[in-house]
Amino acid sequence: MATSGNKNINAKLVLLGDVGAGKSSLVLRFVKGQFVEFQESTIGAAFFSQTLAVNDATVKFEIWDTAGQERYHSLAPMYYRGAAAAIIVFDITNQTSFDRAKKWVQELQAQGNPNMVMALAGNKADLLDARKVTAEEAQAYAQENGLFFLETSAKTATNVNDIFYEIAKRLPRAQPVENPSGMVLMDRPAERAASASCCS
């Protein structure tokens, strides 16, 4: 859930899409400005945070990557919980990945929070020669299903910052909090128990 205070918005953002669509590449480009040509399937990093300043607010994204659990459709409910935004990624050179993206949208509509901001990213837009999914087709699908659509390239950085920026703009500024959030346990030694606290 996006929580706001002094126009500081914390928003959990989840990535969805088929293996190889470029989910991790998009995040790496956005967070670190890097691109790796032959990125291995996601292992190791699955949690990033990145702050964006938009006109009226500072949005701190807490970005969750799938950690590979999407490969056999085994994402846990935990993954979707409290997500304020989602980017569904497909590969414009692969029709199947677009079909799978539609399934992920259905899954989100079933599992996610109804106010979620959803973006559809047609990734690998630099590979125009190999294009299998037209921008028009994806745009039409996005419009029908209440998503916004951008073609991105993690390789050339085209539209990568833009898609996160657009999400930041669309996040509700004040959202009724469905379940007041609990506390996250902080790593403090038990000896200093009296001063240990949890952020909430």
Binding site: I43, G68, S74, M78, R81, N179, P180, M183, V184, A194
Partner: protein
Amino acid sequence: MTESASYPPIDPTTFDLILVGTGLPESVIAAAASAAGKTVLHLDPNSFYGSHFSSLPLDELTSFLTSHSTTSTSSSHPHLPPSTAIDGEDYISVDLETRPVYSDLDISSHSSEPLEHSRKFNLDPAGPRVLFCADSAIDLMLKSGTSQYIEFKGVDASLVCDSDGKLSTVPDSRAAIFKDRTLGLTEKNQLMRFFKLVQEHLASDGDERGDNARISEEDLQSPFVEFLKKMRLPPKIKSIILYAIAMADYDQDDVEVCKDVLKTKDGIDRLALYQSSVSRFSNAPGALIYPMYGQGELPQGFCRRAAVKGCLYVLRMPVTALLMEKSSGHYKGVRLASGQDLFSRQLVLDPSFVVSLPLASSSPDFLQEISLDFRLKSAQGKVARGICIARSSLKPDVSNLLVVYPPRSLYPEQATSIRVLQIGSNLAVCPSGMFVLYLSALCDDADQGKKLLHAAMNALFTPDVSGNPENSSSVQCENTEEVKSTLLWSALYMQELNMASFESISFTPMPDGNLNYNGVLDATMKLFKKMYPDEEYFPETTSPENSEDDEGISLES
């Protein structure tokens, strides 16, 4: 997405470790083994994470409990001769079957209207369960990085039933003792003196000069109940310490029925755990916390940790058979429902599995040997569990609370403590305006278990008013501030208590009868150490996940 048949084949086909079942012990082992650099495949036949440690919507809970229960008709297990097939040249396959771990399942609706919003429930089959703030489970979550995925809330009140059937607040801190109006001045002083003695004893640990502050070794080895008597604590205080703070299960005053006498040493340790829990996190007022969305978040968190370290996850994938080496009978791999064969050095199974072996006469010699290996550690009694959904809270202004009914507090033959945990909708386990109550008690058999649960339910809920839905508001009971709540739905069941076992194939334990996870996680750690004697159990890392980029770049608007 539910189309299970469309899975691509699993690649690779050989792993260091395969685990079947995503209960908490399996999930912790998966995370620990992945962190130690092992290649791990984690399978679950269910469509959800957590197995016996999950949190489930109402409908799914019902079908999960039903599918793992013995049916009342005893002939329900036509034991087909297990099949052993000679596969190819090198190995044979042995069927993998499930055995019932729940029995005497009784699901009743007590309201004329069916409960709606099944999916708004997150119900724990292993309840009641909480975490003490100073539990080793908390340290494990912090150390492994699992804690960042899970949010908790404090359990606001802890109540205990006295011999008159009245509930009173557990005085668990100095301030609470002072404020407690039910304690007389003498009782307060006795309790203060006792807590001071315990504190001095704990503070003197390892301190040579503090010897006279220590409780004598003789006392430490004696029953805790004797020590409390020696400290001249009145029966009411004794009962609070034994059953609501040290969480003893059996009647400590009755040597006949007490199967587990709490020693002073262990009693003191549990008091210390409780005391350090009370002050550990400033946002948790009491000793106990509960995860938002239910206990099933814990295995999910450990599975995510495992996945981040490379563990492969496949839900909705039953294992139909084990593959054994023909010459030696050693475990080689598993056969999936999809028909694919996968291989691993080690295998860990959820406790609801059994390896069915062919008749000894028709099988090679080695099978008779492994049949010994596969025999599970025999069940030691049972735990009676109940899940109740109610319309109102037991205490009007408190949503999440623990109630302990010590032995003999409800009826003379009550041999074990009954613990009740009420969790409200602010922990996202049920729709607003409802409360989930979990009950548990150790028992020898189903009759005893049912009697324990029913006694507690009679004390908690108004008599069945299902014929009269208008009368569904809560009823004030005589001169106490607790109200009796109206029961809407209940599920009662007996669960087997199986220990972990380490053999050529390892089994994880069932949820135990305790309120916290320390017993289960201790067994899990021992299992891991036996499997991987040379590996560290969750090596210390500076940043648990790759989030070193907090300052980040800011894009101008």
